[in-house]
């Protein structure tokens, strides 16, 4: 029977049998089986870009490895998610990224680099992704030397969330960059400052200006940071906000990717319109009674 007529497909993942709905990706099926597969360019609230190739797994009878994030389970497929072959591939992807980008602000990648024993020291003078940091406004900065070209920001700006299309991949090969048309500064571009690109960036290449300033000033103190959940006060949609604060001052606002209202995406007001709760214009906490 053709796979398209099945109501359920059954696959084997690391020896365990899993039955899933047709169209379920290997990554999703693995999660059901309790198997974790590392990802970088994948996000639950975006269409898989399948660009980083960190999630590659072995599927028996496939000549090459297959990307777990985007490959749908095929009836009877036998899948292995950990092997010597897979480990070498993941290690190489991590070495490639580590020799190309500044990954110091990507703790998840640092952990994977250790786990897969990626060794960047064996490369002599590797070309790097170099770009001057772009500070064009008070809301967020773009530091593309940290950009791994995962497509997340482009997709969030485009047809996965915002439909603004202010940025695109531009150029080709190693010179590919995320860019507006003719590198037009963001304030003059189509950008609407929803900050959804910042929200999905996995390497801090895009970061809030407030966070950037704290780091630049040497005042970045993770041990002084907390996250508080609240509801956006601007309109009636009711987006859940996560206020990331350091010493009671907001440095970043996000929304949970699995939230039913936002799917992790916000608008400019929820994302950046929080200055009124901060000093020096702290909002009123008691009624103003005129004498």
């Amino acid at each position: 029977m053709s796979d398209s007529l099945l109501t359920e497909v059954t696959v084997s993942i690391n020896g365990a049998t899993v039955s899933v709905a047709p169209g379920t990706t290997i990554l999703e099926a693995a999660a059901i089986a309790g198997v974790e597969i590392p990802t970088l360019c994948w996000a639950s609230n975006l269409t898989p870009a399948n660009a980083c190739r960190l999630c590659v797994v072995e599927m028996e009878e496939s000549r090459t490895l297959v990307p777990a994030c985007s490959r749908a389970c095929e009836q009877g497929a036998v899948i292995h998610t950990e092997s010597e072959r897979i480990a070498v591939n993941r290690k190489m992807v991590l070495e490639f990224l580590d020799t190309t980008n500044d990954l110091t602000q990507s703790p998840e990648l640092q952990e994977l680099i250790t786990r897969y024993e990626a060794d960047s020291s064996r490369y002599t003078e590797p070309s790097k992704m170099q770009d001057d940091i772009k500070i064009e406004d008070d809301l967020f900065v773009r530091a593309y030397d940290r950009c791994v070209l995962c497509y997340k920001c482009v997709d969030a700006c485009g047809d996965d969330a915002q439909f603004t299309f202010a940025i695109s991949m531009a150029g080709r090969g190693f010179d590919t960059r995320v860019s507006t048309e003719f590198e037009t500064p963001l304030p003059e571009s189509a950008c609407v400052y929803c900050g959804n690109c910042v929200g999905v960036c996995p390497t801090n290449a895009l970061q809030f200006k407030k966070e950037f300033d704290l780091r630049e000033a040497g005042q970045w103190q993770p041990e002084h940071q907390t996250t508080t959940e609240t509801i956006c006060s601007y309109c009636g949609v009711g987006c859940t906000l996560e206020l990331h604060t350091q010493d009671n001052e907001i440095y970043k606002v996000t929304s949970p990717a699995d939230h039913s209202v936002t799917a992790g995406h916000l608008c400019i007001k929820g994302r950046f319109g929080w200055q009124y709760v901060q000093p020096p214009t702290r909002r009123l906490s008691t009624p103003n009674i005129s004498s």
Partner: protein, 578 residues
């Protein structure tokens, strides 16, 4: 107006007029209505006009200005950033105002480097001409390959500028090349006098089902490199009943050392048109697209003239040859990107997106061009269809071997007495092929079989029969039929460095293994240079090879280490890995 926002850069009057004249049917724009056409609807009617529109702007002013790009993008309702992303993907589009004068693209890939490209470039530069050091231009039989972009005028390749006779083996046993040199390429009557359009009549008489059956029986496989059975491909598309469906000819020939498709298009354009018409009528596709690489100026010119002639003779369009069948044909020119020869990149390129490959599955026969079932074949494959219909399956199989029936076009270049296009039955030995071409010029060091994505073979392998099964059994590939001959005068590490640089420049940049792996491979080869490679360098090359081959999205990355690997095995680069 749409809610797409554009910057304030305005076009000049020439750009505005040219685009207004080109986009005769712009997408409707309603006041106040939300029109987001780019992302939501990838099959939007007019986005495919982006690539030809960019060619128009480039040709008009010698570069694509911010105002011109804005106006084209707004007319087609494409976000400006996406249009810029597409324009900046291609080598033939300049996005900064250049100096005056034509831009000379001169091939610097191995065969043309041996054929004197460096001194030619020096000569041009000393004359004050603008030069771009180009990847292979598909003119390897007459190096160095040249292509000139001229503002406001037709671009020119070597065929246009020199009048050199086509170089091929003229033989009475030729099948695919049977009309070469005897017909007038863009004269329909001449084509008919040489047996043209008989196959179409036969196909109409037999019906699509029988045509496909004959292809399956013949054992014809794709000649673009992957050798997929053509009949099965056509059957899969015929099985999809809903329209629209498409036939695509992949003439984006860019594999270094390969020039057969250019010679087919320059010398026998009607054969491709006829074969594509047969494909359309046999499988229920009413529209065909020919994607031809941007540097093939003469081929594109002749092809478009031939298409116009076919239309006026009712061999294209509605009611073909008095039947109720329809088949339309459109040309798209690439703009300098090797990756667009990958079939799914080619679809994206036609559709007006960046030429980045898609994940497979789904395969083109299910979701190809514009997301519809699509036949995509190489011109050489299409020409074989005509042979099979005109002469039958038995005749077709009388050449070649049981597992590789028929004939194959080989592109011989490099240190060989008579470089050119050679047709031979599958199974011919390398030694015979070299001797047909007058023998090696000097002492043979190695042959690069299948182009940059192919493998080196040494003098001890000259008895290799050139078939799919024999090359596969020896971990080799016929690829596109490129046979690049290197004598002992050639410095192989230099050749390897250039091949690695080729992949580095041509990677689309989408996936990490290829985007960065091609760069790291090139860097290691440069560090090795003429020295013996040390163990660490060989081990690093091996690991880079592994991840590119195993984890890249498409064939470009998966074969980018192939030539280097084979050179190491043959001991052409330092000590071999034990």
């Amino acid at each position: 107006m749409s809610d797409l926002k554009y910057t304030n850069s305005d076009p000049d009057s020439h750009e505005r007029d040219a685009i207004d004249a080109f986009v005769i049917d712009p997408p409707v724009r309603h006041e106040g209505e939300r029109w987001v056409v780019s992302g939501l609807d990838r099959t939007h009617d007019s986005r495919h006009l982006l690539l030809p529109g960019l060619h128009l702007l480039q040709n008009l002013k010698g570069w694509i200005s911010p105002g011109g790009l804005n106006y084209l993008a707004e007319t087609l309702q494409i976000p400006a950033a996406e249009a810029y992303g597409v324009a900046s993907f291609y080598d033939l589009f300049q996005l900064e105002e250049p100096e005056e004068g034509p831009l000379h693209h001169v091939c610097v890939d191995p065969v043309c480097a041996m054929g004197g490209s460096a001194s030619y470039i020096q000569e041009l530069r000393s004359n004050g001409d603008r030069v771009h050091e180009s990847p292979c231009l598909g003119q390897c039989e007459r190096p160095p390959g040249i292509f000139v972009q001229i503002k406001g005028d037709s671009n020119q390749d070597l065929t246009a500028t020199t009048n050199i006779e086509p170089q091929f083996n003229s033989s009475s046993s030729n099948r695919l090349l049977r009309r070469f040199g005897t017909n007038e390429p863009v004269n329909l009557n001449s084509y008919k006098e040489h047996g043209g359009y008989q196959a179409l009549g036969t196909a109409i008489e037999l019906g699509g089902a029988r045509v496909i059956e004959m292809l399956v029986e013949s054992g014809l496989t794709g000649r673009g490199g992957a050798a997929f059975p053509t009949g099965i491909k056509w059957q899969s598309v015929a099985d999809h009943l809903s329209a629209p469906k498409y036939v695509v000819a992949n003439a984006d020939e860019s594999e270094p050392g390969t020039f057969k498709d250019r010679m087919i298009l320059e010398n026998d354009p009607f054969a491709l048109i006829e074969a594509m018409t047969i494909a359309g009528l046999s499988t229920g596709c009413e529209k065909g697209w020919i994607y031809i690489r941007g540097e093939y100026a003469t081929a594109a010119q002749r092809l478009s003239e031939a298409i116009a002639e076919a239309y006026s003779a009712q061999l294209l369009g509605n009611r073909i040859q008095g039947t109720s069948l329809t088949f339309d044909l459109e040309i798209r020119q690439g703009a300098g990107a090797y990756i667009c020869g990958e079939e799914t990149s080619l679809f994206n390129s036609i559709e007006g997106f960046r030429g980045e490959p898609r994940s497979k599955p789904p395969y083109p026969t299910d979701k190809g061009l514009f997301g519809r079932p699509t036949i995509v074949n190489n011109p050489e494959t299409f020409l074989n269809v005509i042979e099979i219909l005109n002469n039958g399956v038995d005749y077709y199989q009388s050449a070649g071997t049981p597992a590789s029936p028929g004939t194959k076009l080989f592109c011989l270049s490099g240190d060989i007495a008579r470089p050119g296009l050679y047709e031979a039955g599958f199974g011919i030995r390398l030694r015979e092929l070299l001797s047909d071409a007058g023998g090696v010029d000097g002492d043979l060091q190695a042959i690069l079989l299948g182009g940059a994505a192919g493998c080196f073979v040494g003098p001890e392998q000259l008895d290799l029969p050139l078939t799919f099964e024999d090359t596969k059994a020896n971990d080799l590939t016929l690829g596109s039929g490129a046979v690049m001959v290197f004598s002992t005068k050639v410095n192989v590490p230099d050749v390897l460095g250039r091949l690695a640089e080729f992949f580095r420049n041509e990677s689309c940049g989408q996936c990490v293994p290829c985007r960065i792996g091609t760069v790291r491979q090139h860097e290691v080869l440069l560090q090795i240079g003429a020295d013996k490679a040390n163990k660490d360098q060989l081990s690093l090359l091996h690991d880079i090879d592994t991840v590119m081959t195993d984890a890249s999205i498409c064939g470009l990355g998966q074969t980018a280490a192939s030539a280097v690997r084979s050179a190491i095995t043959l001991g052409l680069l330092g000590e071999t890995r034990s």
